[in-house]
Amino acid sequence: MPAIEVRNLSKSFGSVQAVRDLSFSVEPGRVTGFLGPNGAGKSTTLRMVLGLIRPLRGDATIDGHHYEHLEDPSGRVGAMLEDTSFHPGRSGENHLRVLAAAGGHPPARVDELIDLVALRGAEKRRVGQYSQGMRQRLALASAMVGDPGVLILDEPTNGLDPAGIRWLRGLMRQLADEGRTVLVSSHLLAEVAQAVDDVVIIARGELRGNGELQEVLGGGGAPVTDVRSPYPDQLRDALTRRGHAVEHGPSEQDLVVRAEPEAVGIAAAEDGLTLYRLAPRARSLEDTFFELTADEVPRR
């Protein structure tokens, strides 16, 4: 059974349709990236999953239950929302104490979390004096209060320094390897690509791509091959005669061919042309993201 299941979710704010008929599922033991341009509906979707926003249509369940009907919500689900807010006059430690008490978790858990997110020494300071990175760490600690099996993280890397981002990636990997479910939204595609097993891509509140990362990367557009030859003009003729689209590469000897490397190699061999280089171009998550959200992302 999927840990998180979203079925036909729709939500409007006035005349703006934030989420349209969105469905996807998130499996346990995996890190799932939830991607989309700004305003795509990611945060709205996550808040509907968490019962903070009422959907217009559809529903979302965690372990088969609506969030508000979970027996032990903070023990089952930990959530770190984008722009998580804290009372500025309360210390970080006391904020965690409140959450631990609300979830019925032992006070000793607060100390463990302060160490886990490296806030030791700052725990008694008021949150109003925290830096953005410290607030992010406190928000992450808040999500981990109940040692939950499902973690929902909305833009968790905002405000973290490079070391913090690397630490967070490692933590997400570790949590997934322990069998937990991690759903993480981010607009930093390079970071997500390094950390996730699966991706859900949305734009304008609609699903644009969903599945294992490699599957999604391989699924869009024609294959592209980089090729270098001392006879670029003859090679271009050979390839266009066989119906392959060819573009100029970075140098006079380079060509970019919309075909599999095998097809390029066969064409060159049949026409007796020497090749110096024949390399399939790996598609990046960024390439796929821009293709799938082409109507949404502004081009420069």
Binding site: L52, E68, S74, F86, H87, V98, L99, A102
Partner: protein
């Protein structure tokens, strides 16, 4: 419910609002009681009774509840609260219970501050003093009113989620509308949750004397409970309808 209540009580203890309001209410009340007990002459038993019916605590307890709840919206901590306690009914009940307890505690501390000060001064001046039983009678009535005012403030803070708006609305009602009603439309005022019914519970009318036109103490408690239920249902409906963004 117990966990949510416990969390709310920790929230109250870990910011300065509760302490600041308690100290201010106690300070003002002690000042007024000390001045009155020192300067007034030919006091009657009713005068002294009115003196110890701590008028200053009511607005402070209402403000405490309103600030506590509207602060959740102002500081955008309501999402975190709702994630810990996702059922809005439980969330609302825990807030009401916590601020009822906070109201009682605030009122108790103020009463414990004013009773010895006022009694000592009156005794030193050979003015009328109250018996221990009279003080206990005043105390429980004050505590009952405080137990209503804390949750009523929470409801106001839910319905008017803008914190400044909630505070201004409460003060405007208490200082302008309620005062005007007590003078101009007593028959309306005596049924109200912020003036007439608390007066019925304490037994002290708007002019500081027992008033035969006030409702009985029992009726005051029952009707105030009705008002609180009405406010709480409205606040809960509002909280359930709202998207917490």
């Amino acid at each position: 419910m117990t966990r949510a209540l416990n969390a709310e009580l920790i929230k109250l203890r870990t910011t300065r609002t509760f302490f600041a309001l308690t100290v201010t209410a106690a300070g003002l009340s002690v000042l007024v009681v000390a001045l009155f007990a020192s300067l007034a002459t030919d006091l009657t038993g009713n005068d002294v009774r009115a003196l110890f019916t701590a008028d200053f605590t009511g607005p402070f307890i209402l403000l405490l509840g309103a600030i506590g709840m509207s602060g959740e919206f102002r500081h955008r901590t309501i999402a975190s609260t709702a994630l810990s306690t996702p059922q809005r009914l439980v969330l609302m009940l825990s807030k009401l219970a916590a601020y009822a307890a906070a109201g009682v505690l605030l009122s108790l501390l103020v009463n414990l501050a004013i009773i010895p000060v006022g009694a000592l001064i009156l005794s030193a001046r050979d003015e009328v003093t109250l018996s221990f039983g009279d003080h206990l009678d005043i105390l429980w009535r004050n505590l009952v009113v405080a137990a209503f005012f804390g949750p009523l403030g929470v409801c106001v803070g839910t319905l008017i989620r803008n914190q400044v708006g909630a505070i201004v609305a409460l003060l405007a009602y208490l200082l302008v509308v309620d005062s005007a009603l007590s003078g101009l439309a007593f028959d309306v005022w005596r049924w109200g949750p912020f003036g007439g019914l608390p007066a019925a519970i304490t037994g002290v009318g708007p002019d500081g004397e027992p008033d035969p036109d006030l409702l009985s103490t029992g009726a005051g408690i029952v009707l105030e409970l009705g008002w609180l239920a009405l406010f709480a249902v409205a606040a809960l409906a509002w909280l359930r309808r709202r998207d917490l963004v």
